[in-house]
């Protein structure tokens, strides 16, 4: 247990310049292996987001996509897809994971300095298709890192499900978290997916008995503790709050952004605070920028590659004390209609789609517009918790009055 906060820091982001609002959201179909390419799906999600905003592709003069993932909708791909010929501001600070939460911060700067008027952030993966042809997937890049390849893989401590199972076991030891509490995260998240038309698992029910009867993958995890592998994409369009008022959708403003970094990088085994995420740095920074406290939050979406990460982020964002998220989840408080802290109301990475968190953000916008499948009553403030391991981000969204 490491209660001191010397193992990482909040990045000094500064403010949101003239402000930024999310005015359009879109998703490509989320599915098992589909044969579609990331570029194709990102384009589909972008088209939907632009139409949702009441804009045309010619209105988009800024695109954000992450360089580390293949086939994203960078400027050239955007032009090829939509035939646009005007100037296009381009930023590598977009995509999913932590960047789904921090992209609005970079966008706010570009909107304020006149670099762009309408900015699209998108992210797509075709890992289900790639896995079926053994050409990629979330574990592959990890196997290339020398220290992991030489010092972890030979012992079978690989890949992510094994890292996080080991973290979960330690969390159980430190705080008394139980398998049933991990299961309650999977069950509640699945129930949300059952209410969400776009979820990969919309037709697959799961109760705690099913969960406990499911065979172990890497103890204490069953497959229901682990994210889906799916094909899909999501995108959102950002502009200034002033321009947002002239567009057709209810205005969802960005109220705060935080980014936290662990100094130990991507080696989970060496993380001094083994059962804590850098969300302890990101969350407070975002809440301070927004001028809110956790109790003010109506709906939460956290990057959930594994059930334990949902619990850790809920704790690290300050929705309960450290180690208390297990009992909180076990009480049913994560459900959209329980009056607690509704979490991952679309089904998350566990049951909605493995599009690395960007669909968490589009779901929060739906919630604030009152258009979600598992709708939280009169949601006004929403928070996304992004996570890569070495970093975490927090994004506070607020429905404009």
């Amino acid at each position: 247990m490491n209660r001191t906060l010397d193992w990482g820091r909040a990045e000094p982001l500064g403010g949101l310049a003239g402000g930024v609002a999310i005015v359009g959201i879109g998703e490509a179909a989320h599915s098992r292996a589909s044969g579609r390419t990331p570029t194709e799906m990102a384009g589909e999600a972008a088209a939907a987001a632009i139409a949702d905003a009441g804009l045309t592709p010619a209105d988009i003069d800024g695109v954000m996509a992450h360089p580390a993932f293949p086939g994203q909708l960078h400027a050239d791909a955007f032009r090829a897809r939509f035939g646009s010929t005007g100037p296009l501001w381009e930023s590598p600070l977009g995509g999913g994971m932590v960047w789904a939460g921090t992209a609005p911060h970079a966008a706010a700067r570009a909107l304020a300095d006149g670099s762009a008027r309408h900015i699209l952030n998108s992210f797509a993966v075709a890992w289900a298709t790639q896995r079926s042809s053994m050409t990629g997937g979330p574990g592959q890049s990890h196997a290339q890192k020398i220290t992991k390849r030489q010092l972890e893989v030979p012992f079978g401590w690989f890949p992510q499900p094994v890292y996080f199972a080991t973290i979960a076991r330690r969390h159980m030891h430190e705080f008394g978290t139980t398998v049933e509490q991990l299961g309650s995260v999977a069950v509640t998240t699945r129930r949300h997916a059952n209410l969400t038309p776009s979820a990969v698992m919309r037709d697959r029910r799961l109760d705690l008995r099913d969960y406990l009867a499911s065979p172990p993958v890497a103890e204490p995890f069953r497959k229901e503790d682990c994210s889906l592998i799916s094909d899909g994409a999501a995108a959102y369009v950002m502009t200034t709050p002033e321009r947002a008022r002239d567009l057709r959708a209810p205005v969802v403003e960005v109220a705060g952004v935080g980014l936290g970094t662990s100094r130990t990088g991507g080696h989970w085994a060496q993380q001094p605070a083994f059962t804590t995420t850098p969300q302890v740095f990101a969350g407070p920074a975002a809440f301070a920028m927004a001028g809110i406290r956790p109790v003010d939050v109506d709906v939460l979406a956290v990057y959930d590659p594994f059930t334990i990460v949902t619990l850790m982020q809920i704790e690290d964002l300050g929705f309960c004390g450290k180690g208390e998220a297990g009992p909180l989840a076990g009480s049913g408080a994560l459900a959209h209609d329980a009056g607690g802290i509704p979490t991952n109301t679309h089904g998350g990475l566990l049951s909605h789609s493995y599009v690395l968190g960007i669909a968490h953000v589009t779901e929060l916008v739906r919630q604030l517009r009152g258009q979600a499948g598992a709708q939280v009553a009169s949601a006004e403030i929403a928070v996304y918790g992004g996570y890569t391991g070495p970093q975490a981000s927090a994004l506070v969204l607020r429905r404009a009055r």
Partner: protein
């Protein structure tokens, strides 16, 4: 001699090879910084504490404490298909403060495992049916010198 094939480790790899060269002699060794007397794990070209480059692979008593573990049932790589279930573990080492070692736990029933259990290395040949060769590796087991 060609390097052992994945997922075997390569004792000739410059950064990490010292670990496996020590294991070949039934020693458990980690890089120790001569300037600040601190173990640097995972290995880096320079000590993250003081920036010094005088890192020496230093043998320590191969005993420690179980930090956490997972009983792995699914073979995430084909090489592990005939080894599951196995216990992948993280242990802390008595003589190397700050080091967390990833290893394999053997000679223990999973139901008997507990965080904090005393463990001791047993050097065994690491082999995979998918690739040729073997590399001597420190697996850990409940410390036979301690009755729980």
């Amino acid at each position: 001699m060609t390097a052992p094939a994945f997922p075997l480790p390569d004792p000739g790899e410059p950064l990490t090879g010292g670990f496996w060269k020590a294991a070949a002699r039934d020693r458990l060794a980690f890089p120790l910084c001569g300037a600040c007397d601190r173990f640097c794990w995972y290995p880096e070209p320079r000590c993250p504490g003081c920036g010094g480059s005088g890192l020496t692979w230093t043998s320590v008593e191969p005993a420690g404490t179980l930090f956490s573990w997972s009983v792995v049932h699914h073979a995430f790589l084909p090489a592990f298909a005939d080894q599951v279930p196995f216990v992948a573990a993280v242990v802390t080492i008595d003589g190397a403060p700050g080091v967390r070692l990833v290893t394999r736990l053997i000679d223990a029933r999973p139901s008997d495992l507990a965080v904090g259990a005393r463990v001791r290395a047993r050097f065994v040949p690491l082999r995979f049916s998918t690739v040729a060769g073997e590399v001597r590796a420190p697996f850990f087991r409940p410390d036979p010198r301690r009755i729980p």
